[in-house]
């Protein structure tokens, strides 16, 4: 019986693992929706904290409702001191233990983040295109060889408001996390054009507050029709690299993340909250381990200014 898969648990049920069928579903389609992962009371706390973070973020420079996220993401910083629940969401066992289960062992988590989205989001996977950086292993395209089980990483997305097909719900292309589908999509003319979000047969992941959506970083996704300023909170995990190719991809991913962070941030630099996260003031052992892993794979080797040097000319 699978019909409960997307109807899932009772409200407030604390689940730190998925059933075998749910894992099979995730592996087959590259995503899964877990209904009522957070209770209404928890969502109230999360929403209140998020709103406080928004207040702090836009205190000096107001939110720009007409600025598309594709031009500049208006992100929300979470810190241990101001938003303790959100700052530690990635360390919640309801998140990271499921990530461990899906990624098949040791994982590397990172600080969760929030964003107020404006406009549609074109089709894309959350992986760095091959050849983006000078250091890329171009003779072994990562999509083909680096992760035999397609489990480079996954993202947990939590929407604070109900979203559906016409109000910004995430659309995914089921199975697109696996090759050769993943690569064939890159070859479709116009697939990343903003006006073509309609044109691909995506599955709309309509959610209510409290539901979470987990999807493979390789899974192609998009959104359409959401109101300006729709809030989404996400946390990402990577499988601990087991081969040099995998380690290389993670290095590139960190590099790319910092490039984007600089490009899309309002100040043209990384948010200060990142450095506070890395201080790990509460001495969380899990976070300490992840920080060490990030150090191992070069996360701290790049600063924003030096990244331009690493980028290939288009």
């Amino acid at each position: 019986m699978i019909h409960n898969i997307t109807e899932s648990s009772e409200i407030g049920d604390v689940r730190t693992t998925l059933t075998r069928t749910e894992v099979q579903y995730y592996d087959t389609f590259g995503f899964i929706i877990l209904r009522n992962h957070f209770s209404k009371d928890e969502m109230k706390i999360i929403t209140d904290e998020f709103n406080y973070a928004v207040e702090l973020e836009f205190k000096d420079k107001p939110f720009e409702k007409d600025l598309p996220t594709s031009e500049r993401a208006q992100c929300i910083s979470f810190t241990d001191s101001t938003t303790p629940i959100l700052a530690t969401l990635a360390e919640d066992p309801r998140y990271y233990k499921i990530a461990e289960q899906l990624l098949g062992g040791e994982i590397i988590g990172s600080q969760g983040g929030g964003c107020l989205y404006v406009g549609d989001t074109r089709w894309h996977p959350d992986r760095v295109p091959d050849g983006r950086y000078k250091t890329a292993v171009i003779d072994k395209p990562k999509e083909y060889s680096r992760y035999s089980n397609h489990n480079f990483g996954c993202k947990f997305a939590l929407y604070l408001e109900a979203v559906d097909a016409n109000t910004g719900a995430l659309r995914v292309l089921p199975r697109s996390h696996q090759q050769p589908f993943y690569g064939e999509l890159r070859k479709i003319p116009g697939i990343t054009d903003a006006e073509n979000v309609h044109s691909l047969p995506g599955f709309v992941c309509a959610t209510e507050p409290g539901d979470i959506l987990i999807f493979n970083h390789s899974c192609w996704h998009a959104s359409l029709g959401g109101k300006s300023g729709r809030p989404m909170i996400s946390a990402g995990y990577y499988a601990y690299p087991r081969t040099e190719d995998q380690a290389q991809e993670l290095r590139e991913t960190y590099m790319h993340g910092k490039t984007l962070s600089r490009k899309y941030s309002r100040e043209g630099k990384e948010p200060e909250s990142l450095s506070e996260y890395d201080q790990n003031l509460n001495q969380c052992p899990l976070r300490a381990k992840w920080i060490e892993y990030k150090r191992e794979f070069g996360y701290y080797d790049y600063n924003s200014e030096s990244l331009e040097e690493e980028l290939k000319e288009p």
Binding site: I2, H3, Q24, S176, P189, P201
Partner: protein
């Protein structure tokens, strides 16, 4: 630009083939929706002919809106006498032209079929259990409806890409996929359509429908790739055997009901 593939801005008129983007889309996803495939006058003609055919078919025994199609399919008898346009649609150069383009080889066309559906249709591919066609080109179907259908009123739902292995086989392993109550549980794409539009899909593609009214009428034209190996021949024989068995079962059921 792939936008016109699913959402053409205007009637493209008579089309004997797909363009290269459309072919790529069909190969990648296993289906494509072509709007306004038939002209308005053709839609009208199809409508008139199908109504005549329904009158003939159900003259002795009325259409029964309470029998789910999963138990007994209520097919509409087509004939060159009272439905000549529909009867020969598989020979129409548009459908046949696209089929030839997709197979790029010899093919076997079948007579157009029409049925009145009752109830939901669980997830299934139109293919025997064994799939000896590694290139996924066993056969294709042109499906079209006489009514406007949406996701919740019986539009065909397709799991994009499911025509290809190993996805096709992975779906077979999903617990409960063939259970009628699980239609919503799987991430299908609803091919919403208006009269005149067609859904062209690979017979391997998993599909279903949900929420349609009793008696919604679907017409279909099927083409099979001409078998080229012993495996292919066995698959084709399996398909014929399976089709005849289904026909026999449904005919026996019809006889039994008539006797009652």
């Amino acid at each position: 630009m792939i936008q016109p593939v699913i959402f053409p801005k205007a009637n493209t008129g008579r089309r004997l083939s797909l363009n290269s983007d459309e072919l790529q889309f069909f190969d990648v996803f296993g289906f494509i929706v072509l709007k306004q495939f038939f002209s308005e006058s053709e839609v009208e003609r199809i409508h008139k002919e199908i109504e005549k055919a329904k009158a003939v078919t159900f003259s002795d025994q009325s259409f029964d809106p309470t029998i789910p199609s999963s138990e007994r399919l209520q097919t509409i008898q087509l004939s060159s006498a009272y439905s000549p346009f529909i009867f020969t649609l598989s020979e129409d150069e548009r459908a046949y032209g696209i089929a030839k383009q997709i197979f790029d080889e010899k093919l076997i066309g079948h007579q157009c079929h029409a049925s009145m559906f009752v109830g939901d249709t669980r997830w299934h591919p139109d293919h025997p259990p064994i799939n000896p066609y590694p290139d996924h080109r066993y056969g294709i179907k042109f499906g079209f409806y006489t009514d406007t259908l949406t996701a919740d009123t019986g539009a065909l739902r397709i799991i994009p890409r499911s025509h290809k292995q190993p996805y096709y086989g992975d779906l077979k392993k999903m617990p409960g996929i063939s259970n009628p109550e699980n239609i919503e549980a799987f991430p299908g794409f609803a091919c919403e359509s208006n009269p005149g539009g067609i859904v062209l899909f690979n017979l391997n593609c998993w599909h279903a429908s949900r929420g349609g009214k009793a008696g919604r009428t679907m017409l279909e034209i099927v083409y099979y790739s001409y078998p080229k190996s012993t495996d292919h021949i066995e698959a084709m024989q399996g398909q014929i055997k399976w089709s005849k068995q289904v026909f026999k079962t449904r005919t026996d059921e019809k006889k039994r009901q008539t006797q009652l």
